[in-house]
Amino acid sequence: MSDIVIRAEGLSKRYRRGVIGPPETLRDLLSRVARSPLAAMRKPSQEFFWALSDVGLEVRHGEVLGLIGRNGAGKTTLLKILSRITRPTTGWAEIHGRVRSLLEVGTGFHGELSGRENTYLSGSILGMSKREIDRKFDEIVAFAEVDKFIDTPVKHYSSGMYVRLAFAVAAHLEPEILLVDEVLAVGDINFQKKCMGKMEDVARLGRTIILVSHNMAAVNALCPRCIILNQGSVEFDGPTNEGTARYYVEALSVGSGSDLSDRRREGNAKARFTSISIQPLDKSGQPLDVAYPGCDLSINVEVECKSDFSPANLAIIISDSNGYRVIDANTAQKGQFITMRSGQAAKANFRLREVLLKPGKYLVGLWLGREAMEILDYVEHATNLDVMEGEETKQHVIIFPGVYLCRFNNDITIQDHPKDSYN
């Protein structure tokens, strides 16, 4: 069972970048040649960037490998090369077995066709034979829960139905090697659970899988081994728990500096978080050097408004090193909403009380938006928070899993010969 099914060495992929690239139209090509034939013959000096740089790996039969890294690290490019969608610039890979790739949900779907027709079309594009689709058709429809609508044109489907059918088709691929890119991040919670379940089934049945995901929970749950890509190179290749912890806290280390201008953020930028600072306090409000389980946290946040917005809520989000969101201190919980006009700046102070987090590394994020409607500014990793051992935890040598340090009273009595224990 230790056959190597994927072997790659020196894989590199180069893309052109820059103002003067190769001619994009015939007109352009012709005018360049006319203007200066010699210059046109010479390859123009172009800026290149290497999306992948000397990547090598070995994957054994039946392995489930997680591939993680920041946006732009080269994960999708690697998957595309292994899927033969694009060719490497240098390097080679050898694949033993049939490969199918799932890089998006709904590949090949066409709105005018019915669910049934799209199932066949998409299934065929993804690599299933007609006979295979015939055989699995009922299961696919059942998994997607679109039985009544299977003959309606897909343009009439709700987005939920579309996603369910698209994923159902893809989920019934039976390749020896499966390459999956982020498709677990679609649909509602129930559907995501279903997808995870299917992924687990597939993994358990011994297929080789490479899974690209930002969902650390999924990667931790499904992949015993992970590779971290950073700017096109392999930065880590080993057990997943080590990898995800490293990725989440160190690889994305943002330090505890308070200036947020260079942080990665999402949103429509109508507002901008400019700084954050965290001060641990004890019960009486006295400042502490470090945070301990059960302390208070005083968090100061500054926001600038770039463009008017009306009722928005602000949240402070604390996540653990696996990416699980453990605290979401949201003004919406208190019915408080903020309205700002362009040019205004706001200072907010949050006092989180009795923060019972177990000692460890945490990440603090900031979110400002209008519920599900728009995100004004979201800085996923604004700063770090290290919770140190406190009085309550000092006695213990091992830190047990879990994040919430629940305070409890307990009372244990011991009896001899407990007969008639069922009253």
Binding site: H61, G62, I85, A93, G97, S129, E176, D201, L205
Partner: protein, 292 residues
């Protein structure tokens, strides 16, 4: 390996590693003659599904859209009959003008539409080719196959027109498939070049309509190829559509220019363009995804 008996019976547990797994080697493109035509055969079902998809989508649209397949050549035939026939009095090899023109318009409509579709086939399928692997060659082949359905309808109408004008079908009709194949290979040969070029240089798609216009004038659609002086015939027949159109006219009516040595000129011309097109297309295929 432990086999799983819980949860879904959906997928059968994998057997131990297959004796002869397909070994695929992935590396940068090399060489000019790496044609990989065997891949195309392996993906023949997908070719079928692409054709099926395009036909279905076209025919799901308005009823007029379906009638247009017949209306368009008929209307063009009408205009040609009036202006080139009655008014300009161009010779028509002894055939009634409607028969003369319609016989040319059926294969020409097929060629023009197929070449147009083929040119943009890679770009219009970019969302698929950037997400899944299949030999890109499947797409041009599909593009020149969907038009065959329309051509079949056109042939039926042509048969009706021929019978209406008093011609009786003879054994020459059996040669129609040969001419259809020649038209298809011509569309494919040119289409391989234009689709690859269009993926690289996006304005190709704007140039192709002019190319088609030019080719129409260079083909005996509106006039008879007997107009061409003998010493220029070979050059003229480098355009394979000349033979296709002459062939259609002859096959339906027994009149006109029967297939002769010029057929070899055309076949040779198609072969050269086709092989060149295959080489160019396959060379570009691996990196088309990066440009599309």
């Amino acid at each position: 390996m432990a086999s799983v008996t819980t949860s879904s019976p959906i997928a059968a547990p994998l057997p131990a590693p297959v004796k002869q797994p397909a070994i695929v080697r992935i590396e940068p493109p090399r060489g000019w003659l790496d044609l990989r035509l065997g891949d195309l055969w392996e993906y023949r079902e997908l070719l079928y599904f692409f054709v099926w998809r395009d036909v279905k989508i076209r025919y799901k649209q308005t009823v007029v859209g379906v009638l247009w397949v017949v209306l368009q050549p008929l209307l063009t035939m009408g205009v040609f009959t009036i202006f080139f026939g009655r008014l300009a009095r161009l010779p028509s090899e002894g055939l009634p003008y409607p028969v003369f023109y319609f016989a040319a318009l059926v294969p020409w409509a097929y060629f023009a539409t197929s070449l147009g579709t083929c040119t943009t086939i890679l770009v219009s399928n970019q969302h698929v080719i950037t997400k899944v692997y299949f030999p890109r060659l499947v797409l041009p082949f599909a593009a020149v196959s969907t038009g065959l359905i329309d051509m079949a309808i056109g042939l039926v109408v042509m048969t009706i027109i021929t019978l209406a004008y008093g011609f009786r079908p003879g054994l020459s009709l059996l040669l129609i498939p040969l001419f259809v194949l020649l038209a298809q290979m011509t569309a494919l040969a040119v289409g391989l070049w234009t689709s690859a070029l269009n993926a690289l240089y996006r304005d190709m798609a704007a140039i192709v309509p002019f190319v088609i216009q030019f080719l129409m004038l260079a083909s005996p659609v509106a006039y008879s190829s007997s107009l061409v002086p003998p010493k220029w015939r070979a050059l003229y027949h480098l355009n394979p559509m000349a033979n296709v159109i002459d062939g259609f006219r002859w096959a339906f009516t027994g009149h006109g220019s029967p297939p002769g040595p010029m057929l070899f000129v055309s076949a040779g011309s198609v072969a050269v363009i086709l092989v060149g097109g295959l080489i160019f297309f396959q060379r570009v295929e691996g990196t088309v995804v990066d440009r599309v």
